[in-house]
Structure formats: structure tokens, C-alpha cells
Amino acid sequence: MADFVLTTRAPLIAGNKTPADVTRDICHSLEGRPTPLWWGSFLFAASLLLLGTLAVSYEIATGIGTWGVNRTVGWAVGITSFVFWIGIGHAGTLISAILFLLRQRWRTSVNRSAEAMTIFAVICAGIFPVIHLGRPWMAYWLFPYPNTRGSLWVNFRSPLVWDAFAISTYFTISLVFWLLGLIPDLATVRDRLRGGFRQRLASVMSLGWNGSFRTWHRYESVYLMLAGLATPLVLSVHTIVSWDFATGVIPGWHATIFPPYFVAGAIFSGVAMVLTLVIVARKTMHLEDYITLRHIDVMCKLLLLTSGIVGIAYVTEFFNALYSTNPYEEFAFLNRAFGPLGWAYAIMVSCNVLIPQLLWFRKVRRTLWIVFPISILINVGMWFERFVIIVTSLQRDFLPSSWAGYRPTPIELSMLLGSFGLFFTLFLLFCRLLPVVAMAEVKGVLHVGREPRGPDPERVMVGSSAQGRGMDAAGIREGGPE
């Protein structure tokens, strides 16, 4: 695959970098002291995390009554945030696994941070199903483990059990995939550092990487296999999450359209979140050469595609409800759009379907100050999509006698903020501790060596051979600053 030469398109990495430049640029942010901007962001994120931790502790100590949920609306912000974070977590695997299999080489600049984002988002997501339980200390009962309670087992008919399996599987695979991808880069970090905790950590985590052909060969095979394994998970996880609703009898939940609809939505929100993060990262960490406008442009196109799918799903839902002649279904959807939470529906449609239409324009796709707010609005819209699906369906279901409203409490909102705090705290730590761009992979798509008029004939040779990667590591060792 290294013979694949980009001739007709602009280079993926700007600035005519050499592999040594790549190493220097990426490792630069790890080796210096944190900037005041980093400290400021970290403290802000950590205080949100603290707020969330306090809220969760209070909730677990006192009861779910500290939330705004009630006898009619049993799920609200908690499960909304769960589905939201799981959705965010989708882009990582999509970019690292599916795009890898599809040979989309532009992924190399963003796949590391996308995968990190996946891991952190799944961590955030995984917290909510536990803390939303009435008795969170019994959460392990959702797993089928051998027990002494006779033939007592979990209920394999319940989608919540599948959820527990799907999410834990997804988290495991994503984590392994990410750690595996980190190995060559960690070896580079290990070799650049002189002692200290971080060097020891990098040395343990790089698993004795020596850059030999054999190591590279094994690494690439495993990476390919894991990518193959992770690919179905992109589809399965959110499909199963959608079954939490689709297997219910509640009008507005009970729909066969949910799995594709949810998967598309998940990718949509995940890519939007990746965009948000890389736009910030490229600016603050000076990665403009690695994450170019072309990357942004490609991801915007992905957004446009998924936004279209989501939009079609919204229309289809309405059509199905009205076509069903089931009065409860009809009402559920009219109530969704025009009922007491119609404003949430309006936010959802405008953020998820209307605003992304701007991305049809190449100019918009390449204007960061427009793309950035769009990416944030899409995530707002996607959070509200889940909120609308969950709350508006529950609040007015079959018997009008039981209809109720829902208003979140400060505890619930603090937990939502806390989950963002956790996410950004982890992400900021990641930016400080690990290379945010997959150096080894970026080196594989460098322009260097792909054209005969390279500045350094030695490097041309390095870039054009199949074993090029193996020698990259060596090249870095030679060319790296001492």
C-alpha cells in the first residue's frame, strides 16, 4: 500500500515535512511545560468534574429523587447523556477502523485523537447507566456471572443486558485498538525521553518495541485484524442502544427504523465532536500542517452525509406514524413536534438538519470560524435528539391520566456538566501525556519520498519502500533533536 502515490490531490500533510519534523512537531507539546491556556482549560474541566462528582455522590447517597424524573418520565437527562456519549464514541472507531479498511489515508492525522475521544466518551457514557440505577451498588447484577441464587440469571430478553455486553465489548476493543496503535509512537517517546516517570511509562506501554521488520509486520497484522473486529461494533453498539427504545411499547420508541437511524446519528455526532476537538487542537498545539483544511473539509462532507441520513430518519418517523393509522403513534409524533417540548424538537431539527446544509458550500467547509460553531451546534442538536426521543415519548403516552411534565433538577444538570468535565479533563491529560497525532502513521502518508525531486535522496528511498516504516523509527532516532 505504500506504493499508493498521491499525485492528483494536494498533499495530506502540508509544510513539506520530513519524518524528523513530524516527530519534533508532535513530541514538542509533550516535552515542554504546559501552557497557561492548558492550565486554564484543565482547571476549568477539573472543576466541572468536581461539580459532577459531588452531584453524583449526593445522588447516590440520597436517591434518584434528586433528579427531576417521575412516575411517568422514568428516564431523562441521565439516559439522554448516556446515549449522547455513546454516540460521540462512535467516530473514533469509525475513523480508525472503517476508514482504515477503506484506505482513507486522511484519517491518519485525526485517528489518534478520535480514538482517545472514543475511549473517554465511552467512559462518560458508561457512568450514566450505573448512576441512574435506583441501587447502583447492585449494578453488577446486570452481568451473567455464576451465582448461588439457584437458576437466577439475567434476562436475556432485556435490551439493557445487551447494552451492558455491547458497551463493555466496545470499550475493551476500542481501548486495545488505541493502545496498540500507540505502541510505535510510545517507542519514539520512550527513546526521546531521558528517565523519569513518563519515560518508564512509555517504555512499559511500548511493549519493547524495537522497530524491526518483524515487529512492524506483527503490528500491522494485528492492527488490521483489530480493525476488522472493531468494524461491526460501530454498527452493533448503537444498534443495541437503539433497541433500548425500539423494543419498548411506548409510541415514539417502538420503531424498526431506530438501528440505522441511531447509528447514523452516532457517527454524525461523533464526527462533529472530532471536528470540535481537532479545530481547537490544531490551533492551540500548532498542528495546522498535520490537520489541514482538507481534513476539515472531508469530515464536513461526512457530517453532511450523516445529517442527510438523520434528516431522512426524522421524516420517515413522521411518515410511519401517520401511515400507521395508530392513533397513539400519530399523537406521539405530533406531540413531539408541537407539544410542550416542541422547542426541544425545534432545536433538534434546526441543529441537526437545517444548519448542516451550509456544509454544501466548499467555502463554508473550509472556513474554520463557521465550521467550529456548526460542529458544536450539531452536538447540541444531537443531545436534544436523544432528549426528545426519550422524554417526549414518555411524558404523554397511552393514558392521559398519567401524562406528566419533566423538569431537570440542578443535580441532573451538574451531572451532565460533570460528564463534560470528565471528558475534557481526560482529553487534556491525553494531550499532555501522549502524542495527539499518530506519528508513525502520518509518516506513512508524508509527501516526502513520493516525488523524485526530494530534497534528500536518502529520505526518498525511505519513503518509497515497503519497509519504509520500519526505518522511520530509525530515521527519527537519527534525525531527532538531542
Partner: protein
Amino acid sequence: MGSEKPSRYWKSWEEGPGATGLVQISTSEFPEPLDRPAEQFNRRSFLKAAGFAAAVAAAGAGCSRAPVEKAIPYLIQPEEIVPGVSYFYASTCGGCATGCGVLVKNLDGRPIKLEGNPEHPLSRGGLCAVGQASLLALYDSQRLKAPQAKGRIASWQEVDEQIAAQLASIRTSGGAVRVLSGTISSPTLNAEIQKFLLQFRDARHVVYDGLSSSAILDAHQQTHGERLLPHYRFNRATVIVSFDADFLGTWISPVEFSRDFADGRRIDSRSPQMSYHAQLESRMSLTGSKADRRISVEPHELGEIMLRIGARLAQLAGSAFPIAARTQDNSYDTVIEDLARRLWESRGRSLVVCGSQDVRLQILGNFINDLLGNYGATLDIERPSQQRQGNDANLQSLLDDLDKGNVAALFLHGVNPAYDLPGGQALVQAIERTPLVVSFAERLDETSALAHFICPDHHPLESWSDAEPVRGTLGIFQPAIHPLGKTRPVLESLAIWRGQPRPAYDILRDHWRGSVFPQQTIEPDFQTFWDRSVEAGYSEIRLKTSKPPRFQAASLKPFSQSSPAAGELSLVLYPKISMLDGRHAENPWLQELPDPISKVTWDNYACLSPGTAQRLGLREGDVVRLEVDIDAVHSPPLELPVFIQPGQHDQVIAVALGYGRKSTERFANAGPKWLFGGSDVDEDGRIGKNTAPMLALVGGSLQYIRDNVRLSKIGKRHALASTQTHHSLTMPRELPIVGGEHRDIVRETTIAALLAGEKKTVPVSPATNGLWPADHRYTGHRWAMAIDLTACTGCSGCVIACQAENNIPVVGKDEVLRHREMHWMRIDRYYTGEQDVDVVYQPMLCQQCDNAPCETVCPVLATVHSAEGLNQQIYNRCVGTRYCANNCPYKTRRFNWFDYVRNDRLQNLVLNPDVTVRSRGVMEKCSFCVQRIEVARIESNRVGKPIADGQIQTACQQSCPSQAIVFGDLNDPNSRVAQMARDPRRFGVLEEFNFRPAVNYLTVVRNRDSHEENSKVNQNNG
């Protein structure tokens, strides 16, 4: 195959070929085999297990030491107390003066539930919400535990000596002694009071009722020459016309009347027949909501309409009618003609009741009933009711005496005049000026706080007493528990002060021996008579009948009622079904019971009709100030939130009595307290506002209707804790609905349609053949319920019965505002129609679906289906995902959002030991009273007889005054529930989704000619 089956010999038909699952007594606990595989326990597994056990035992023994607690068993088992086995004592309900029969369920030595006594001739097994909840008052830790003298706790000896000394001086000085009480139907207590009063020269027993029916008694004084309250017999009436009498809700004897009313309206679908009931009223009452024809009138129009019906009937009877109708207004002509015709056609089988406190209207009612020959048929004055004896004229003269300082000693029993009379501060001062005030109150209330001595009476469940609610029908109160405090029955207190101290039991027995026993002819021996009466809880004696008094036509005099100008508002003060006159305001069960009509808990409010609210620009929850001029004196204004009540007359503001009691300050901590939790009480620390200052005691009767009310908006808002915020089955109009959707959740029809053999309006056939084989075969029992919506009056007795039976917590106002009430049984109430609304009630509880949506979604199998059709909730397996509640189409599941307040250890004695108290974080719901099923099963196994139909009664069913609820085995084709399930009127809620609910509802039937009749008539009236 070759294996030979040994032939089986059978000894009887039932055991052999006749054996079915029903007659066979199941000997095993689980009728279906547990799907546990035969365990292979081989040597290896044994060694594994043994090794593991040894290791754990070694580790465990090293780590912890269980504390040594020595339990000492009874050496000699106390008689009647078998742990876990309940006993029932027949007694009488002390919740109000109605005197319904109860069975007190005693478990482990304490009463834990009141059930209606099915043998009792009046209540016949029903018990209302107040009666059910009166049990909780027994365990009220704020009940007085000892007598008080001048505000401090004293000993009985101290109190007795001081009272005796003061009484002695009154005896010599000849001062006036007054006993002020509520209606006392106890013949023994009445006799004892008379004996006590005989010692004094100027002594009188004054009776008043917070919910007065004094005008009915006064009217009979004039028309029949005897101050009596007829015993109304609704079951004998085929046409019932009620003028503002809420006889199914709060009027005189609602449990008995509900049963009678329902009995007259039980529909046999083959030959449908039911009584006709018209209600003319200004507010929406429970009774009005069940009427076949409800006419909403301005309160002052009642007299006019009554007059014209009377005149029309007199015309039909060809007799003279002395009063001319005042106006030529013909707006009610069709109504009057129709009602008069119906009444006339059912002469002797009709009944006109009137709830007005205007004696002239009551006289008119008596005239109409007499004209129709209803006396002796549907009104019994030979054996009159004694459930309301209040005499407001006497009350008025007592208040005057008090005011003038003419009373030397005042004894208060069962009344709270400082709270529920309009006198206000003047009355309080008058009571304070009285030299000796003795209260028998069980609690420190507004009046007993003024008393010099409080001599607390026993709770009715602790005392011996009797009641004679209807002459000739006597009930016995027998104690079900040793008194919890140092209280003393009034009977004993009076006897001591009379100088003849004797135990209450002896006083009661002697009175029965002397006065009751001689009147009966069945038992020759007093001891047998007594034992029988105590065992049954009641006794019916055949009175030597004298000729009942006759109607005296001369009493009917002309009168005119001034009606206020159009647009002017009248204030109607009404009793709520839970609060009545406020006597049980400290009962949290009743405070949290949703009003059947408004569905609001924990508050009273100003009900306005939708039209008036719109005209005045008021929304629900806006606080308004109400002002009435009383005797030209500016009354204290009343600030209340607005509640919009469909069906109410436009010129009426209706406000409930019984709120704003001082004792409700205790509810500040009724619900869970947390960081962002709201208050459970109002700003003044109480629940609701006291409306008694708005009452008027004029013309010798307490008036509940006030004219010329000024209403002003004060710009504040007050949230009403309602358990139901949507009131119609027609979808909200602000949503553009395709086809104007009306949900088929409750079905209604008319008798005419039934007679015409009309098929169900919406034929819905649930899918009968599923794709998969049925999960359960129901080889043994299959529990199911049937609820006749025609019979259900919405009285909510079942709600409290369920709460008492199943240890359902009280959550407080703030939690209800957050839609987190915990009732397992609720009454859904829907309005139909636009201007003049019809009301339907639907008791809603877990439907125990065969295809239960909750069961499939629980990840930990905490809700599973039993082999007998029960949907079981396993509390200790539940982790609290709440998915089941979300997925329940009926929203009958309740979640424990907090650990609810249970820190009152005395109050915890009311908990039913047979039912788990649920902890925080688990789901709960109606279990079909599985504990009662199990008791019956154990009993059936013990005696070796199958469970008979009707042997198991759920708590809601047991309590239902109108017997709307039937529980039983659907597999037994002869069971009542199976019969009802075959009724053509049967429907299941949301059946079209194939949930297969085990609760069968029977369509509401109204006695109408067609569907449209009611709306047409009312449109004519404008």
C-alpha cells in the same frame, strides 16, 4: 414403547376422571415445575464445593463474629396471638358519626387494617376512605397520652379532683352546664350524658355537626311534628332526584347510600335495568358526576326549580299547591317537566333528596316526597337515621350564652368549635371566659388548647362503646388493642364526675341489659344476646312500632328566594371526601388522597368554572382573594389558588372545608427532605386555608352558601399538587390532530343502546393467536379482576384500603408536585363533553398483563410472571433501572425515589407485617394482594379444600362500598370474575396492543335515551 404404565385406581370421581386443575388441591408451592435441570452432583463437584466451603468458612470465621443475641420464646403462648396469623374483631367505625360496621384485622397483637363488616346491615362490607384511614390515627404519636390540666400534663386523680371541686360549686350555685358535642349515636353515651347533666339545675346537651343537616331535621319537625332524619333507602328508588345532596360522597351515610345506589343500578346485560338519577347542583360533586342527568344550576335557583317541580306534581296529583312560582322564566321547563313526569310515574318508588340548609327547601322536599308516597317506601321515618343530630338553633343559643358569659361549665366532645364555627376570635374569647372548660379531645386542637382540662378519650379502636346509626340497628365498638396512652373513655370520666366510677365495659353492658335487651325478642338470655352482638359487631332489634308521624300540609308556606344578579358570584363551601369538616386533617393518608374530582392533594382551592376563569382572566394556580361581608362586618379575606372545575356553574366559587387546621403544621416534614426539595406546607406552615370564617350561622342553621363574594387577583401563584393534569380522552386541541382523536380507554353507553342490543362502539379484537406459544398454561388458578365502571363512584375508599394493606408511604406535597405519588391504586377521572361535562371514573391498578411489557425489559428478572397469572415484583432483586415503569402502558408502577419518612416508630406499628416495606431504589406496584392469596392457599392446604370463589378478597375489593371490584379465578367458569369477563359490556384497556390485561372493565352505562341526551338538554338551558 414397551414400558408398561401401571393402571391407576381412583377412589372418587373428583380424584379420578373428574379431576381438573381446579378441584385438585395443589400440594406443592409452585404449580409449574421449576425449570431447574436435574443437578448432577458428582464426586468432583462435591470436592470442589467442600473445598470452597471450608475455605470460606475459615476465612469468614477469622473475620467476623456475630453478636450473641438471646431470643427468649414464650413459655406459654398468649391466647389468640399466633405470630403471623391474623384475627378479626367485629367493631364499629369511629371515623365519623355514620357508624359503619368494621372488622378490625389484628396481627401480632395490634390492629393493622380495618375492613368493612360484610354482615353489617348498613355498610354491608364497604368502608370509605376516612374509615380506612382512621386506623392511622390510632398510632398517631401526637395523640394525647395523658390528661392535661391548664396546659400541663397531670394525673387523672389531679384532674378529677379539680373538676369535681368546680362541679360541686356549680351544683350549689346553679350555674349553667353545657355539653357541646358532635352527633353521638351511642345510646349508652347519650344516656350517660343525660345522667351526668341531671345533677345540675341548668344543664343541656347541645349537638352540632360541622357538616350540618340540621335543616332536614327542622323541616321534619314542622312537617311531621318530630325532629328526625329519615333513613333514605336508595335501593328502593327507581327515580332519584337530588337537589345538591352529595349522597355518594359526604352526605349523611355515603357508604350505605353508595351500596344502595349501586344495587339499584347493577346491570344484567341480558335484561338491562337501572334506576334513574338526576342531580341538580351548583358545583361538581361526586354524586353529580355519577348522575344520568346532571343540571348545573345557580345555588339560588334550586328553590325555584323545586317549587316548580312541586307545583307540577301537585297539578298531576290534583292537589292544591299553596306557593306560586316566582318567575316566568322558562329556561328549565323541559327539565322540570321531564323530572316531574318521571317522579310521578314512579310514585312510591322515587326519592327526592335535598342537601340544602334552607328549611323551606327541605319542607318543599318533604312535600314532594309525601305527594309521591315515598314516606314509608324510600324514606323510612319509622326507624329514622341518627347519623346527623345537630341542632343549629340550639348551637346558636349556646353561642349566645357563651358570649354573654352565662355558661359556668362547658364540656366538649368530638367537636372543634374554635376551628369549624364562624365565630372566630369572639368565640375563642367567649370560650376562654367560661370558668370551666373540659375537652375530651384526643389531640391538642384549636379548641382543646383553650380548655382548662383535657381528659383525652380513647381511640375508638381502644374502647368499649356502641352506636345506633339507625334506630333499631346497633353497633358495638370493642377494643382491639390495649390503650396506648393513659387515656380514659368519656363514659368513665362522666361516671367518675357523677360520683359513680365504673369501667366503661360495665356501663355499656348495663345499658344494653337495661335498655337494648328488653327490646329484642330473639335471644332469651342476655349473656347470649351480648355475646352474639359483640361477636357480630352489631345487633338488629325489632322495635315496637308506633304509627309514624304524618305529613302536615299546613307547614308548607309560600316563600321566595332572592337570587343574585347575573354575573355575581356565590361562595359554596363544601366538604371534601377526605377532609370532611377537618376532623381528620392530621391524617397524612387522607391529606395525600387525591380528591376524586379535582385529583388535587394536600390543598384546598377556589374552584371556578372554565367560563368564569376565562372571563376573569384567571389561570389554574393564580391566587385570588375572596371577601364576603358577614353581617355588614368585613370578613377576613381568604387567599386561595384557583382551580378550574368543568361542570361547575359559572356564578359559583366552591371551596372545600376542613383545611388550615393547626395540626397540619406537623406535615412540614411529611416528605423526604433534600437539597432542592420544596416545602410540604404552605407559607403559613399549614395545609390549605380555613374556610370556616366564611360560614354563617343565620336563621337557626349553618349556611354553607354565601352571596356577594368579591374576588380579586393578587398576583401570586400557588402550585396545586395534582395527581392528574390531563382530564380528557380527547387529545389537546392545540395539537393539529388528524381526525380529532378520542382514545378508547373508557367506554360509555346508555341503557337505551343496551336495550337496543347495540354492539360495542369500537369493536377491537385483540390478536388471539400469537406467533409464539403461550409462555404460561395456567393449569391451576388464574387470578383476574373485574371492575364494573357503572358501579364505581370514584369514592377512593379502595385507594386508602390499598395504602393501609400494602404499606404505601406518604410522600408529601412537594413529591406529589413532582408526579411521584406512590398509590398503587388510583382512580383515573376523565371528562367528556364540552360545556356540560360527563365524568367517568376508572380505577387503575397494575393490569397483571399476560403479555406484560414490563417483564421483558427488566434486565435482572426482578419482575416475572407467575404460573397463576400474577405479574410479580421481586423487590430484593430490583436494581431500579425504571425501564419497566417506562414501558408500562398503564403507568401503574411506582418507584421508591427516596427512603420515605418512617421515623415515627409508633406510626410504624400500622405497617402490615405480611407486606415488605420497600427500600429506596426499587420499583413497586399492585400485587393483587398476593399476601392474601397466599393466606388463602395456606388455609386451603391446611383444611384440604380448594380455594372457594370469593374467599380471597383484595383490599380494594373488600373496601369498595358499591362492590364494583371483583377478584377471583378466571379458570373457574362459575366464579364471579369469570362471569363478569363474559359480560358483553366487558372491555380491556389498550387490548388492541395484545398486552392481555387481567383486569376486565365493564362499560359505564347511563340511564339515558341516547348518547346525546345530556348535552342536548343542557344546551337548551343555555
